[in-house]
Symmetry: none
Subunit: 213 residues, 4 copies
DNA sequence: TATGAATGAGACTTCATTCAT
DNA sequence: GATGAATGAAGTCTCATTCAT
């Protein structure tokens, strides 16, 4: 599975209409199939056929199967980063902590609901695809930096190290719980989202409010 | 990947010495390979060869490749369950909350350190292997019941629903963070374990101590 | 074309009847096809089909397509070496030079007539298949040593360096000319073989008899 | 590999500057690649890219891949023929035999040193590319005629048949040995060239001087 | 019961050539 | 005429599983 040849990127990044649309179709179809059947069980020919693109063209855009997964991963991480960046650029940083957590998790949850493949896809190839690991690492680093900044602003007494540990825990915990929530049924699902908020808030409060114990 | 034929379990559970040892060797080798190369990239023939077991014999113990993963899964979950059961059977239930959390996470962390394949292996086939999903679900249910009991005992005011949601969040969060900690370097790794304790404690306290806010 | 993975040998060397026969059939069919269509134009599936062997079995004996060519090469060189070894083991070493050359070239020519693929196959992949180059080199070294010994015995005044250069020239020249003769028509063909003898004799005589010029 | 469609030559022989230069670039790049990677392993797209010529344009000059090899072949044979023609047009025909051989082989060796692809390229497709066979045959015929004339002039007693056989042997032997010399290391290389002279001279002398034996 | 050679569908990928622009 | 994106047949090789011995 480990792809050693794929340069990690696309072969040709088309800016024009038709090709760009083809690439999108490929990515969308791949997303569906990867979620439904898994990365390994999905064949490049199936992707091409369902995307109505000749297999040769698929390979003109992507050097190999792994590159499709990587492009998908990049598309995901960019979108999530974008969403959180937008969220943090607004006046939300000055919100009281409970509200901040509440809204931040709402934003994240919205992302996972709209992109159910995010975690699903990354999980299958964990560890066996170095390139993907790097993409995820980069994305995480971005997210964590995002949070680190937000945390540091709220409590300037914290060291950079503290902030990073906190951000890491937050990003991973929230990510996992909201993703797991996805596959739960209605009532319990909402409850899980609510619990996630509680968990995150409880954790952050131990750093931001005087501890009375 | 989805194994439709596998009867869901082992073909024959050998009690005799030689066979039992062979099965163990298969499982141990499979664990190593699944971690190192991934489930899909590992071939049944490689497992058999490395375990010094004829491929034909392997298929006498396991109906198909998936069954090996399932047996591994069962072995894992049994051990984790066992560890937490032991932990809960002692006087630990009566410990003050912080100490309880502290020790419970220590136990769990010990398990993950000793069984690095636990999460690694399961993640790859998430969603694409119904049988495995069931095993994990069963395991989770057990763990969650374990915790549910412990939680209910500490705060009888909580409904069963509450307890289950709390337990779910706890099991999943702790599981994920400790697993992620595994692949971090020394200093940060310890910090993550510490943060996990903080997170769990902070969360549980919102349920067990009067909230003053 | 350059095969980097093939370990250079066969995957399994069967000593038993049925498998050994299969390997031979594969080799024979491959030989025919390589000569007729060329190495590259011949597909592994065609070889398997014509040899009445499932493609999977072919790959159980040979790790890749290149390995078939290599096995063929080895089979050839062994036979040629064998033929010349036999020739040199007899009393032929003591034959007068003209007779020695005459008979030696007869032996070689017989080999080329019976194994028309020898040169044909080597030529196509010259330089692009390191493993094959090595096999050829080894074979040449053997042949050259063979001749070197024979030459040294006839004229002990020659240095080892001399003998090797002479043997090299002889082996390569004779090999090429006899191979080229193969594809010529009847009359001219025989003439070429005769000329080869003349050429070799003329050359050797410059080393073995007093030069009068 | 056998190109059945190729009209046997170039599509358009451009006399104008830009096109002529493009064709030369294509031929030069192709030569490099054919030597380095082999004919089959080299793709037309790679040639076009490296030659900085659009693939479409390449196919306007050459009907198919084989035509490039053929053009290369023609370029080679023309040059070699040219070199030997020049050599034979001078007073060299009247040189004493040893000097004649000496100089003729020097000229040939110079050609092979400057055009290392000559043999390398042709060998790969020996027999599998009819068109190329013809080109080589034509070239050989020219060379052989050249030599035939030279030989006939030296010994008018020889029949035309004799001369042709001698010329064939000479052309092929010298060609092969000098080509093989190319890939040998310094000292041995020079020795091989010297041996080639000796071989050729020894052979010719059997036809030109009274044999005393 | 134990063995391991045998099987073949099907996976990924390439590349000579075309033709709409 | 010039361009280069598009095409898809076809190639090499893998591997879970069986079954004759």
């Amino acid at each position: 599975m480990a792809s050693s040849t794929s340069a990690g990127g696309m072969r040709r990044t088309p800016r024009q209409g038709r090709s760009q649309e083809r690439v999108n179709r490929i990515l969308n179809v791949a997303e569906e199939l990867f979620i439904a059947e898994g990365y390994t069980a999905t064949t490049t020919n199936t992707i091409a056929t369902r995307a109505q693109v000749p297999i040769g063209s698929l390979y003109q855009f992507f050097p190999d199967k792994a590159a499709i997964l990587q492009a998908l991963a990049r598309r995901y991480t960019e979108k999530l980063h974008q969403a959180l960046l937008e969220f943090h650029q607004q006046e939300n940083l000055e919100l009281p902590l409970p509200l901040y957590v509440e809204q931040m998790i709402e934003v994240t949850n919205r992302f996972f609901t709209t992109h159910p493949g995010y975690h699903a896809i990354f999980m299958e190839v964990q560890g066996t695809m170095p390139e993907l690991g790097e993409i995820e690492a980069t994305a995480d680093t971005q997210l964590i930096q995002e949070f680190t900044r937000s945390i540091a602003q709220r409590n300037p007494a914290l060291t950079r190290e503290d902030c990073e540990a906190i951000a890491f825990v937050l990003v991973k915990t929230i990510g996992t719980l909201l993703w797991l929530a996805l596959s739960q049924e209605g009532g319990f699902r909402d409850r899980l989202v609510a619990e996630t908020k509680k968990l995150a808030l409880g954790y952050l409060q131990t750093y931001f409010t005087p501890l009375r114990r």
